[in-house]
C-alpha cells in the first residue's frame, strides 16, 4: 500500500506491506538510528517520538503512522547536543546501540517532567534497557541535564 509519512518535518512517500512495522519502514527509508533489539517491545532501542510521545516503533504499524509527526534522533539536530554531551561526558554511551532511543526519550522526558526527581527519571526511562552501562553513569549525566541533585 502507499503511505505518506511525516518524518523529522519532511514528507516521505513510500510503498509498504500492510503488516509492516514502523521500525522496518523507517530503517528502509534510511533512518538507521532506529534500532532493532528484541522483536517483542521489551528493550526500547526502537523508540521514536510520535507527536512528541516516546513510542516503540517495533510495536507500531507503519500504516497507522500516516498523518502523525514522527521524530527520530536525526530530526533533533542541535537539540540533541546537550543530552548527548550529558551522556558522553560520563562515558555512559558505551556500545551506543541503545543511545539514539535514549536521547529521544530523555528529550521527551525533559518536556514532560515538570518537577523531576531521581525516581521519576528512573521510572520514565525504565523501558530503555542498556546492558553495558549499569545505568549509574547515564543517571549521573541525566541528573545534570535535568537539573536534579
Amino acid at each position: 500500500m502507499k503511505l505518506k509519512l511525516s518524518i523529522n518535518q519532511q514528507f516521505y512517500n513510500t510503498h509498504i506491506d500492510g503488516d509492516e512495522s514502523l521500525l522496518d519502514v523507517l530503517r528502509n527509508l534510511g533512518f538507521k538510528s532506529v534500532k532493532k533489539g528484541c522483536d517483542t517491545g521489551a528493550c526500547g532501542v526502537c523508540s521514536i517520538l510520535i507527536n512528541g510521545e516516546p513510542t516503540l516503533s517495533c510495536q507500531f504499524l507503519a500504516a497507522r503512522a500516516e498523518g502523525k509527526k514522527i521524530t527520530t534522533v536525526e530530526g533533533l539536530g542541535a537539540k540533541a547536543d546537550k543530552i548527548v554531551k550529558a551522556i558522553i561526558n560520563e562515558g555512559a554511551d558505551q556500545c551506543g546501540y541503545c543511545g539514539p532511543s535514549l536521547v529521544l526519550t530523555i528529550y521527551a522526558m525533559k518536556k514532560e517532567l515538570k518537577d523531576p526527581t531521581v525516581d521519576k527519571i528512573k521510572h520514565f526511562l525504565a523501558g530503555n534497557l542498556c546492558r553495558c552501562s549499569g545505568y549509574e553513569g547515564q543517571l549521573r549525566g541525566i541528573k545534570k541535564y535535568m537539573g536534579v541533585k
Binding site: 506491506d17 533512518f31 538507521k32 538510528s33 532506529v34 534500532k35 532493532k36 533489539g37 528484541c38 522483536d39 517483542t40 521489551a42 528493550c43 532501542v45 527520530t72 534522533v73 536525526e74 533533533l76 540533541a80 543530552i83 548527548v84 551522556i87 558522553i88 561526558n89 560520563e90 562515558g91 555512559a92 554511551d93 558505551q94 556500545c95 551506543g96 546501540y97 541503545c98 543511545g99 539514539p100 535514549l102 536521547v103 528512573k122 521510572h123 526511562l125 525504565a126 523501558g127 530503555n128 534497557l129 542498556c130 546492558r131 553495558c132 552501562s133 549499569g134 545505568y135 549509574e136 553513569g137 543517571l139
Partner: protein, 778 residues
C-alpha cells in the same frame, strides 16, 4: 604519583556523539540494501537425526535464491570458539549436520531477496527426523546411553580429555594439585564442605548478532560482522569453507555490545557460504529468539568446595571439584572451566594444600561459551560463599578472614605456573595488588562496622550487608598478542590502526589516549581505525580482559617508536648535532639553547611535499605479548533489604572498590565496573535460562528473560585504588570483567547475614529465600 597528559584523564569516547546521533555504524546499518536475507530452519527437537530433507517446494517460493542443507556444505569439523590457536576447544561442529543437538540447532540455510520469502520458504522445507532421547540434566550426562557426539570426525588439537563416547567434552584431573589436600583437611580445626550450583545466563547484548557478506572487485569474500575478534573469525571461516585466508577479509564496524557473546562466530558461517554460492551480497540478522536459543549462554556449573582452616583463622586447604555444562557444542569448555580454578585459587594464596579438578559435559541444550567472568564468576559464587560459611563456623567477621588470607602485593601463588589457558601457565609475582586496600576501603564505604551483620528495620524488613572479593586477569600470558601501527599524515595527525576490537567498552578511546601519551601529542591528533583483517594489524580481539593491557602496550610501543622517528627527522631538519638536543612539546620540536624550532604540522608537510630526497612516510608499529597477566582485583560489598514475609530482596547499594592499576580513562573504567556489577546482580537475582522438560528454552525473549532495568538497583558506588603495575601501559591493568564476579556471593552472604538462610543454588529468588526462612522456622 606520575603526571600524565593524556592517560588517566576522562575524555568522551571518540565515537560517542556519532553513535548517539544515529551514525550508520553497525553491521546492519552498513549491509547492502540489495543483500539477500538469510533465515535458518532450526531444529524443533533436542536431539534427532535427519532421515530426509526436501527443499523442492521451498525453492519454488518467489525470491528464494539459495537453500542449503548438510548435503550442500563442506563437512569439516570446526569449533566456533574464536580463541587462540591451536584451539583448546573440541572440533565438534559442522556448518550443518545430519544430527541436530538442541532445540534451535541449524537444519537448513535459506537466502531470499526479501525476508518474507525467506521465512515462507523455511516453512516449506520438509524434514523427517528420527527423534532421539536427549540428555538435558548435566549431572546425568557422563556415561549416558545417549551419545550426543557420535560422529567419527570429532577431535581436539591437543589433549584436553575429550571423551565423546561418554559425553565428556574435556576433563582436567590429577594436575592442579599442591600439597596433600586430604591430610590437610583432616588436620584443619574448621572445615567447610559444600556443593554450589550456578545457572546459565543470557548475554543480552542489545545488538543481535549480525553478519553480512559480499564479493569485492578482486573476487574476495568480504564479511562485515559484529565480531569481537575479526582475525579468529577469518581463520575459522577459512577452515570451515576450505578457503585460503588471502581470499577472505573480515571487517568489524561498531559493535552493539559483546560480553563474550560475539567472541564465538555465529551467522558469519551462513553469510559467507550464501555469498560464495550465489555470488551475491547477503545478510543475516538474528532475531532475539535466535540470540537466546541458538547462540551461547554462560556455562552452568556444579562446584564442590572444601575449605580447611586452623583455629587462628589461617586458611590451609582449598579444594574445588567442578562439573560444567557446555551444552550441545564444546566452545570454551576447557578454558572457562579452568578459569574457575585459576582466578580463585591464587586469591587465597596462604593455603598450603590446593586441588582443582573436574569435567565438562555435553548436553542437548544451547551451547555455553565465553561470557564476561568466564568461569571466575561461577567459582566466585561458590568460593566466596564458602568463605563466609567458614567464617560463620569460626564465629569471626568474614571480611577479616578475607583480609588475613588474601593475596598481597609482592606475593605469588603456585597456581599461576600450573594453570594456564588450556594447559600450563606461567609463574608471576603480584607487582601490583591493592586487594587489601580495596577490602578496607569498601568496608568503610558500606559502613560495615555499623551494619554487619544486619539490622531489623521493621516487623518484616531486615537490612544487612554482604561481601565478596575477586581477581581476574589481563589477557592470557604469552598467548594473547596485540599490535598497532601509527602513520603520520600531513597536517600533523596520526592514523592509529589496531586489530583490537572496541565492542562498546571504549577501547578505541583508551588506545588513542595511550598512543597520544607515548608520542607526546594531544589525543585529538589521533584518528583510530579498528578493526579489519586487511588494513589493521593482528590482535587476538576483545576477550579475556586483554585490550587495555595487551593491546594498550602495543599502542604504547608504536607511539614510542613514532616519537623516535619524529625526533630523528626534526634533528635532521633543525641540524641538531645530537638528537638529545631536540625537545618535543606542545606539538613543536625545539633545538635546545637556540630559538630554532619546527612545528609537527610543518615537519609532516615537509616530509610529504617539500624535503626532496628526504621525503618519506613515517610509519611506526608495535607488537605486544607478555609473560605477565597482572590481575585486577575487586572487593564488592552489598547492602540489601529483605522482606521476611515475601522473600523479596531490594539492593540498596553496591560498593565496588577496584584495583585495575592506572585507569587510563577513569570514566570509562568506572562504567565497565558498574556495568559488570549490574550484570552480576542480574545473574544473582533473576536472570535464569529455563527449559521445558523436552528441552525447549522457555526464556527465549526479553519478555520472559528479564535483565536489570534502571529501577532494579538503588545505587552503585565504584572507586579505584591508587595502583600502578609496572608491566602495564602507564601502569594499567585490564578492567573489562572484574566488575561482574562478586555480586553473586555478596548477595548470598547478605541474605545469610539477614536471615540465616544459606542459598547455594542460583538465582536467589524471593521464593528460595522464603522457603529458606520457613525451613529455619520449622
Amino acid at each position: 604519583m606520575m603526571n600524565f597528559k593524556e592517560v588517566k584523564h576522562s575524555i568522551p569516547k571518540v565515537d560517542g556523539k556519532g553513535l548517539l546521533t544515529g551514525a550508520h555504524a553497525y553491521t546492519n546499518d552498513l549491509a547492502s540494501d540489495n543483500a539477500l536475507i538469510i533465515k535458518l530452519l532450526r531444529s524443533p527437537h533436542a536431539f534427532a537425526k535427519i532421515k530426509s530433507i526436501g527443499t523442492k517446494q521451498a525453492s519454488n517460493v518467489e525470491g528464494v535464491e539459495c537453500i542449503l542443507t548438510y548435503k550442500d556444505v563442506p563437512r569439516i569439523p570446526i569449533t566456533r570458539a574464536g580463541q587462540g590457536y591451536p584451539e583448546p576447544s573440541p572440533k565438534d561442529k559442522f556448518i550443518l549436520d545430519y544430527y541436530v543437538r538442541y532445540i534451535g540447532d541449524e537444519v537448513a540455510i535459506v537466502a531470499a531477496t526479501n525476508e518474507k520469502a525467506a521465512s515462507d520458504a523455511i516453512k516449506l522445507i520438509e524434514v523427517e527426523y528420527e527423534v532421539l532421547k536427549p540428555v538435558l540434566d548435566f549431572e546425568k550426562a557422563e556415561g549416558n546411553e545417549t551419545v550426543i557426539h557420535p560422529e567419527s570426525e570429532i577431535y581436539s588439537m591437543f589433549p584436553i580429555g575429550l571423551d565423546a563416547k561418554n559425553n565428556i567434552a574435556c576433563s582436567y584431573i590429577d594436575t592442579m594439585i599442591v600439597g596433600d589436600i586430604e591430610k590437610t583437611l583432616k588436620e584443619s580445626d574448621f572445615v567447610v564442605s559444600e556443593r554450589y550450583y550456578t545457572h546459565a545466563q543470557q548475554q543480552t547484548a542489545m545488538e543481535p548478532h549480525t553478519s553480512s557478506a559480499f564479493i569485492d572487485v578482486q573476487g574476495r569474500l568480504n564479511i562485515f560482522s559484529s565480531t569481537q575478534n575479526p582475525y579468529h573469525t577469518r581463520r575459522i571461516i577459512g577452515e570451515a569453507l576450505n578457503k585460503p585466508l588471502r581470499d577472505i577479509r573480515v571487517y568489524k564496524p561498531r559493535i552493539g555490545g559483546g560480553f563474550g557473546a560475539k567472541q564465538q562466530i555465529h551467522n558469519d558461517l551462513f553469510s559467507a557460504i550464501v555469498t560464495l554460492k550465489t555470488g551475491k551480497p547477503s545478510k543475516c540478522f538474528y532475531t532475539r529468539k535466535e540470540v537466546n536459543e541458538s547462540t551461547f549462554t554462560r556455562h552452568q556449573m556444579r562446584i564442590d568446595v572444601q575449605l580447611g582452616a586452623d583455629k587462628n583463622g589461617n586458611l590451609k586447604a582449598f579444594d574445588m571439584q567442578v562439573l560444567s555444562n557446555t551444552g550441545a557444542y564444546g566452545e570454551h569448555s576447557l578454558t572457562t572451566f579452568m578459569v574457575a580454578g585459576s582466578k580463585l585459587l591464587p586469591m587465597y594464596n596462604k593455603a598450603v594444600a590446593l586441588r582443582f579438578e573436574g569435567k565438562v559435559v555435553y548436553t542437548n541444550k544451547c551451547s555455553a561459551g565465553a561470557f564476561r567472568g568466564y568461569g571466575a564468576i561461577q567459582a566466585n559464587f561458590a568460593v566466596e560463599s564458602a568463605i563466609d560459611e567458614l567464617a560463620a563456623k569460626m564465629n569471626i567477621d568474614p571480611v577479616e578472614l578475607r583480609l588475613k588470607n588474601c593475596i598481597k602485593e609482592g606475593e605469588t601463588s603456585p597456581v599461576f605456573r600450573v594453570m594456564g589457558e588450556g594447559g600450563e601457565g606461567i609463574a608471576q609475582i603480584m607487582d601490583s595488588c591493592k586487594l587489601d586496600h580495596c577490602i578496607k576501603r569498601g568496608k568503610k564505604l558500606i559502613k560495615w562496622k555499623e551494619k554487619f551483620p544486619s539490622t531489623q528495620v521493621s516487623s518484616n524488613k531486615i537490612r544487612s550487608v554482604g561481601a565478596a572479593i575477586a581477581m581476574q586477569g589481563s589477557g592470557i600470558p604469552l598467548l594473547d598478542m596485540g599490535s598497532a601501527v601509527l602513520k603520520l599524515n600531513d597536517d600533523g595527525f596520526f592514523n592509529l590502526l589496531v586489530g583490537a576490537t572496541d565492542i562498546g567498552t571504549g577501547s578505541d578511546t583508551v588506545l588513542s589516549q595511550i598512543a597520544a601519551e607515548a608520542i607526546g601529542v594531544p589525543v585529538d591528533r589521533i584518528v583510530i581505525t579498528s578493526s579489519d583483517t586487511d588494513t589493521t594489524p593482528y590482535d587476538v580481539g576483545a576477550y579475556a580482559s586483554s585490550t587495555t593491557f595487551v593491546s594498550g602496550n602495543a599502542a604504547r610501543k608504536a607511539g614510542l617508536n613514532m616519537r623516535v622517528k619524529l625526533i630523528d627527522e626534526a634533528a635532521r631538519v633543525l641540524q641538531a648535532v645530537h638528537k638529545d638536543d631536540i625537545v618535543f612539546e606542545d606539538c613543536t620540536f625545539k633545538l635546545k639553547n637556540t630559538d630554532q624550532s619546527i612545528t609537527l604540522k610543518d615537519l609532516s608537510e615537509g616530509l610529504y611535499y617539500k624535503y626532496g630526497a628526504d621525503m618519506k612516510q613515517l610509519i611506526a608499529s608495535g607488537s605486544n605479548t607478555s609473560p605477565k597477566s597482572p590481575p585486577p582485583f575487586m572487593a564488592g560489598f552489598v547492602e540489601i533489604e529483605v522482606d521476611t514475609e515475601t522473600g523479596k530482596i531490594d539492593i540498596l547499594d553496591y560498593v565496588g572498590v577496584v584495583d585495575c592499576g592506572t585507569p587510563i580513562n577513569p570514566n570509562l573504567a568506572k562504567i565497565q565496573v558498574e556495568g559488570g556489577i549490574l550484570q552480576g546482580i542480574g545473574m544473582a537475582m533473576f536472570e535464569d535460562v529455563r527449559y521445558s522438560e523436552s528441552g525447549q528454552m522457555l526464556t527465549n525473549n526479553l519478555m520472559k528473560y528479564k535483565i536489570p532495568n534502571r529501577k532494579d538497583v538503588k545505587k552503585l558506588t565504584v572507586e579505584f585504588a591508587e595502583s600502578y603495575d609496572p608491566a602495564g601501559p602507564y601502569g594499567a591493568k585490564s578492567v573489562g570483567e572484574i566488575g561482574i564476579d562478586t555480586p553473586l556471593a555478596a548477595v548470598a552472604n547478605a541474605i545469610y547475614n539477614a536471615t540465616g538462610v544459606r542459598i547455594r543454588k542460583l538465582p536467589i529468588t524471593p521464593e528460595s529465600v522464603l522457603i529458606g526462612i520457613n525451613k529455619l522456622k520449622s
